[in-house]
């Protein structure tokens, strides 16, 4: 379908995982290993979806999410959160940031594609 997805995660292995999983489903995937780098890219290019790891060292997931949502250029882009946290409390907090969906790690990359598809369908 040619839609562009931005994946931000501090672990390269997971970035590659995501890239392979989504590229084999026909998406264009741009990766960023650091929150700051990811945000720069988000503001510079036009993406259809952003995959955001919540547990990153330099910028916290909350902060990144906030910045994306408050910037008019990126506020409409759906954000899906990848997180290792599973407690209700934490998930609730995450969803309050404005993310549209989440997947807990470890996740099945094959299912990732389906979820991404659902989200993009809803957007259009």
């Amino acid at each position: 379908m040619g839609q562009k997805i931005l994946a931000i995660d501090d672990e390269t292995l997971i970035l590659d995982l995501v890239k392979i999983a989504l590229e084999t489903e026909g998406y264009e995937v741009v990766t960023a290993e650091r929150g700051s780098v990811g945000l720069d890219k988000a503001f510079a290019e036009k993406f259809d979806l952003i995959l955001l790891d919540f547990t990153m060292p330099d910028i916290s997931g909350f902060e990144a999410c906030r910045r994306l949502k408050t910037n008019p250029a990126t506020s409409n882009i759906p954000i899906m959160v990848l997180t290792a946290k599973v407690s209700d409390e934490d998930l609730r907090k995450i969803m309050e940031t404005g993310a549209i969906d989440y997947m807990t790690k470890p996740f099945d990359p094959l299912q990732l594609g389906d979820r991404v598809k659902d989200i993009l369908k809803k957007q259009s």
Binding site: E11, I14, I20, A84, V86, S87, E89, K105, P109
Partner: protein, 670 residues
């Protein structure tokens, strides 16, 4: 007898006074009728007798004196004496004598007149008697009596007054009675007296002052008195009530002290700030013990110094902060756990300078040791500016307060330790939480890669996979799933254990939950061809708790049943209410449990039979989590089994939800 002699005899016998004559030797010559009437003697009996024979013995000296005096011819002597009458009774008589002369003017004897003064004498005795009585009263029964005239001038001051007030009667007479009243009490008394009518009997309480300036609390009864005809004076009868006042004062003071101590006790037990308590103590002890300054010093950690903690009546910035124990007198107080009293600090050479330095001049000092748990922990110093001999009461009072101080300090210390422990536990908890978070993340990331890449390969995204590769990779996938579940459960268990469980109090239907879980496990039931039954009792069958967690419980129990039941078996659920509890029983026809190992099934990682459990992929933490959650909800879990291969029942019982409970959040105690 000649005519004139007869005449004189007539006159003599007509005189109403008793008259008789004596010769120079004192013998009775002539007596008149009045005399014989008075004395009862016959003339013949008296004539020739010595007069002294009829005079009572005590007056012999007097009569002889009187008779001698008249013999010189010039004087008339008088005297009171007692005569012995013919009936042997005594008669009070006044005798007056004068010289009897012959025609040549030579003294030849005496003429004596005897006047009966018996009535007068008895009256005199009466008066003397009552005077003696009153005098006795005045001197002994009352503390003081004084009488003053309309102008306030004292004209009577009793012996008691002299004793009480130190003034001699002579010094006081003629002075204004106001000088006996203490100046500070005078105005009030004058005001009270001014509203008293002159004839009223009134009682007033006032303060008198002695010659030396000593104050005497007294009650005065003020009454009108008339000692002489036509004179109206005021009499004040004084009772010294200093002793009562003192007692009253002591009782009041004691009450105040008791109240002070009670209040202090309350402060301590209500955990009032230690600073406030110690300040209250030094303030109270100063007031109640009637001293000027109180200084509290506590032993330093190295036990070599006494550090200033708080003081009252002195400037804290001026009092030395540190007192070295070595070379100090109060070291003894600490070591021997006794009180040290110094009358004059300037004269006590054993005292170090610091010990009596409070920024002002003091004379007396009392050092009271503060003992806690048989150890000296500090000293309370009490100082007075004027010389003071510390009384038993003062020392006892100081001890009472010092003991409270010891209790307060110990209490505060324990409380602080408690707080420290609580803080440490909190920190520990936080550290654990952080650790869990980190572990969670660290373990999940690699697992994501393992699962992820395996999944990609198995999904054919990076090329074809042959049969063998597929089989091997599926093993990797299953095991990494298992690992994931294990990590999840481990973190769960840890979180539940450390009390991070937020216990909601929602009403949860066990039936509803079971239906839900049964739905979820449908595939698994079918995969092993297991039959599923539900036996539901009457009633709402609701419990109060956290829905998420209850779901977890039922899910874990059912999953366990499914895991350990071979193909073709069955899983039956029974839910019912009994004795205000809801019971949930899950019975399977599986591998059962060995007798005696029924509790163990709820332990972490328990393996009843290695071979069996290995086959199903490990025991895991499922039931351990179930136990923790159910117990956190106030319930109980247990296992039942007839033996190996006889199936197992996992049962749980929880209090039924009552309608009146409100939603609450609580932290589980770890």
């Amino acid at each position: 007898m000649s005519g004139s002699e007869e005449r004189y005899t007539q006159i003599f016998n007509s005189i109403s006074q008793a008259v008789f004559t004596l010769d120079l030797e004192g013998n009775i010559q002539e007596v008149n009728d009045a005399l014989t009437n008075l004395t009862g003697y016959k003339q013949e009996d008296l004539r020739g007798k010595t007069f002294t024979e009829v005079v009572a013995g005590e007056y012999l000296g007097l009569i002889q004196l009187i008779l001698r005096k008249t013999l010189d011819g010039k004087t008339i002597s008088k005297g009171d004496m007692q005569i012995i009458k013919a009936d042997k009774n005594r008669l009070w008589a006044e005798i007056s004598t004068s010289a009897l002369r012959d025609p040549e003017k030579k003294v030849v004897g005496q003429v004596c007149i005897l006047r009966d003064i018996s009535v007068q004498k008895s009256k005199e005795e009466e008066i003397k008697g009552s005077e003696r009585f009153l005098s006795h009263l005045v001197d002994n029964g009352i503390d003081a009596v004084y009488v003053y005239d309309a102008k306030g001038k004292i004209d009577f001051f009793s012996k008691g007054g002299e004793k009480l007030l130190g003034w001699r009667s002579e010094e006081i007479m003629g002075q204004n009675f106001e000088m006996l009243i203490a100046p500070e009490a005078l105005n009030k008394l004058k005001g009270q007296l001014s509203s008293r009518r002159a004839d009223e009997h009134r009682t007033y309480q006032t303060v008198l002052v002695s010659k030396g300036g000593r104050r005497i609390d007294a009650v005065q009864k003020v009454i009108p008195i008339s000692r002489e005809k036509n004179s109206l004076e005021t009499c004040s009868i004084v009772t010294n009530i200093t002793a009562q006042q003192k007692l009253q004062g002591e009782i009041t003071a004691m009450n105040e002290k008791l109240n002070g101590l009670i209040r202090l006790g309350k402060m301590i037990s209500s955990r009032t700030n230690l600073e406030e308590i110690l300040n209250f103590i030094v303030g109270s002890v100063t007031t109640f013990a009637r001293v000027d300054i109180a200084v509290l010093r506590l032993l330093s950690d190295d036990k070599k110094q006494l550090m200033l903690r708080t003081c009252f009546g002195a400037d804290k910035t001026v009092v030395p902060g540190v007192l070295n124990l070595e070379g100090s007198l109060t070291n003894k107080a600490l070591e021997e756990a006794r009180v040290i009293s110094v009358g004059d600090v300037t004269e006590e050479s054993a005292l170090s300078k610091v010990e009596c330095d409070v920024g002002q001049n003091v004379t007396s000092m009392l050092a009271v040791p503060l003992i806690a748990r048989k150890e000296g922990k500090g000293i309370l110093y009490l100082y007075t500016r004027e010389y003071c001999q510390f009384t038993r009461q003062q020392i006892d009072l100081a001890f009472a307060f010092v003991n409270q101080a010891a209790i307060a300090i110990e209490s505060a210390m324990l409380y602080n330790r408690e707080q420290d422990t609580i803080n440490k536990l909190r920190d520990l908890d936080q550290a654990k939480s952080d650790f869990l978070s980190m572990v969670s993340h660290e373990l999940r990331s690699p697992l994501t890669s393992i699962k992820g890449y395996t999944s990609l390969i198995l999904g054919g995204r990076v090329g074809e996979v042959n049969e063998k590769q597929r089989k091997f990779l599926e093993i990797v996938a299953t095991q990494s799933n298992h690992l994931t579940k294990l990590i999840s459960d481990l973190l769960d268990l840890s979180r539940i254990e450390s009390g991070k469980l937020v216990l909601k109090q929602d009403k949860i239907s066990l039936k509803g939950t079971t239906d839900l879980i049964a739905e979820r496990f449908k595939l698994q039931f079918d995969a092993k061809n297991l039959t599923f039954n539900m036996n539901i009792g009457e009633g709402p069958l609701e419990v109060r708790g956290d829905e998420e967690r209850i779901l977890q419980v039922i899910s874990n129990v059912m999953s366990n049943a499914i895991k350990f039941t071979p193909e073709g078996g069955s899983v039956s659920i029974k839910i019912y209410e009994e004795n205000n509890n809801v019971e949930f029983h899950c019975t399977d026809t599986g591998i059962g449990l060995k007798k005696g190992t029924l509790e163990n099934v709820f332990s972490e990682f328990y393996q009843a039979d290695s071979s069996a459990t290995r086959q199903v992929g490990g025991a895991g933490l499922g039931l351990a989590i179930v136990k923790k959650i159910v117990e956190a909800h106030g319930g109980k879990v247990w296992a039942e089994s007839e033996g190996v291969n006889a199936g197992t029942t996992i049962a749980l019982r929880m209090p039924a939800a009552k309608d009146e409970e409100k939603t609450a959040e609580g932290e589980e105690k770890s």
